[in-house]
Symmetry: C2
Subunit: 345 residues, 2 copies
Amino acid sequence: MITSEQVARLAGVSRTTVSRVLNGTGRISEEVRQRVLEAAATLGYEPNVVAQSMVRQRSRTIVLGMFHVEEGLSFSRLGETKHYFYLDVLKYIEAEAAEADYDLLQPSRPQDMTPEGYVRSLRTRNVAGAILLALSSADARIPALVQADLPTVFIDAVGQGRFATYIKSDNGNGARQVTEHLLSLGHRRIAFLTGSLSNMFGMERILGAQQAFTSAGYSLDPDLIRQSGWNTEQAYEAACQLLNERRDFTAIVAGSDLMAMGILRALREQGLCVPKDVSLTGFDDVGLARYTEPGLTTVRQDKEAMGRQAIQLLLRMIEGEEYIPPVTLPTRLVVRQSTGPAPIA
Amino acid sequence: MITSEQVARLAGVSRTTVSRVLNGTGRISEEVRQRVLEAAATLGYEPNVVAQSMVRQRSRTIVLGMFHVEEGLSFSRLGETKHYFYLDVLKYIEAEAAEADYDLLQPSRPQDMTPEGYVRSLRTRNVAGAILLALSSADARIPALVQADLPTVFIDAVGQGRFATYIKSDNGNGARQVTEHLLSLGHRRIAFLTGSLSNMFGMERILGAQQAFTSAGYSLDPDLIRQSGWNTEQAYEAACQLLNERRDFTAIVAGSDLMAMGILRALREQGLCVPKDVSLTGFDDVGLARYTEPGLTTVRQDKEAMGRQAIQLLLRMIEGEEYIPPVTLPTRLVVRQSTGPAPIA
DNA sequence: CTGAAAGCGCTTACAG
DNA sequence: CTGAAAGCGCTTACAG
């Protein structure tokens, strides 16, 4: 490995000068500057990132924390289709981090690690900040990170403090939009299959739907609200069960597009036609939503804004800004073919 | 931040001893060992990973290189459904790396970076090794990494050397299986919509199909082989175009499940019924394959083996093993409802 | 069994 | 404008 020592020797200057030239700090005579740059280029020198991290007590690294790991071994069982939406968000996180010249790190996390241990382990890695994706509200890392002075941005989880903020879609409004759409089509008995109510977005969506009902002067049958988990398979099973129990609803609002795909299959298996017999809606507007048969009416989340702004918020905190307010992104109703007029009773 | 200095002071020993106790190196009297452990626990001490990386000249970090970044800004346009398969693989990479106590790193990569610069940038990060996912055969990082003495495992790309090997599915055999399945159902004119032939797996699959044809005494019409890109949308468009040009085929072999979903839509829009009019097959067996209507006949890739063994191969190289031969994973034909007897001409 | 000292490759006061 | 020296937090010969 080429070191600054070698560059210094070739250029006939001190390591101090090499460092200054490469970092653009301090005044350097143009002639020396050129000599150093030339020497560095000749040797193919690149500063050792680890050494920089050591001396600066901070690296250009952002931790990416996800749902994956926390679930232990259970994830090897299911298709984990629930993560498809976040794959898109992740893409923009990566792009934005790359443009800001930050590495992304997924730290290994021993099973027995406490929330405090988690924060500590990030400290020992000298990371600049962390992005946490879609944690359950019960995740103990949230309060630990909010307490710590490590800049943190939560996506789809609430955590706010001096060095912590969050970004999410306007889930309540999205659910309201889609529910109003169904109400306007004449649907009154609508089933809600959500992944869970322990994620922020799960709860918000139900509340938004409820609000639409209330505003319209109707009420929502609590027995038509079901929590199944966010996977396609789980939604499929929950829909089968619901259909076995009762059939007095004319529409189903799924917690996500991927869940809707499982529900669609359950409806088909029961000989029910979408949207003639039952209308169906999704949430997210993943790329596949238009490829279902029929195309899925859904609520579009702005994945690009979510990913990019998460990084931008984090960078502002890294640069010292405190108490940044949370960001809520607007959603948009996308009407396709899976919703239609309620069948006449 | 708590340092080993503070632990040493509290335990009344030297930093050397603290280091030895925590790393389990050298002989230590039981009494001292206990004192150190206790002091470390009291202070909540955790060794600074960066300092360790600095002095050991190697960190417990594995680089994860993907297709994403190399594509510049183009990816913001499309749904990038093509990556869904690798999301599953990634999950197992993460799990296996976590179990081996390695961090995963996605380094930021400036646009203008040369392949040598890429390898150099990994060096300056003191990473232990790298996993590269599904690169195009033309990716210049492949030869650069094969040359370098940095342990590297390629997934779905060929790169082999002293410190480089690869793992992939038996794509040729998978394509052969699915083609034979169609031939046995009486199909003779089969269209092949592949993402591209510049990835190893794209080419292998076509060759496998060709082999099935030849073994059965038939031949494959080259004009029925189309390259569209791996996204659902691209496959949809290619299928539309193909259907406009000719309709003399009775089956379509898609390059992936996600491509098949786009093709399915194109067929439906033309009023063609699957499998009555046209049989359709996918590749990968992603979780969603069973949720299409009809369920998709496909070739299952062992995503868990792919992800886990990639890490295991890498760890062997990190531990010094050289010239590890590549691994080919068996595939399995999964017959669902999207394939049926060829219609009588 | 234990510790003082050197060193990993940088950056940054401090001095000139 | 430039450099010698200290220091970031560890580990590891070396010596005892």
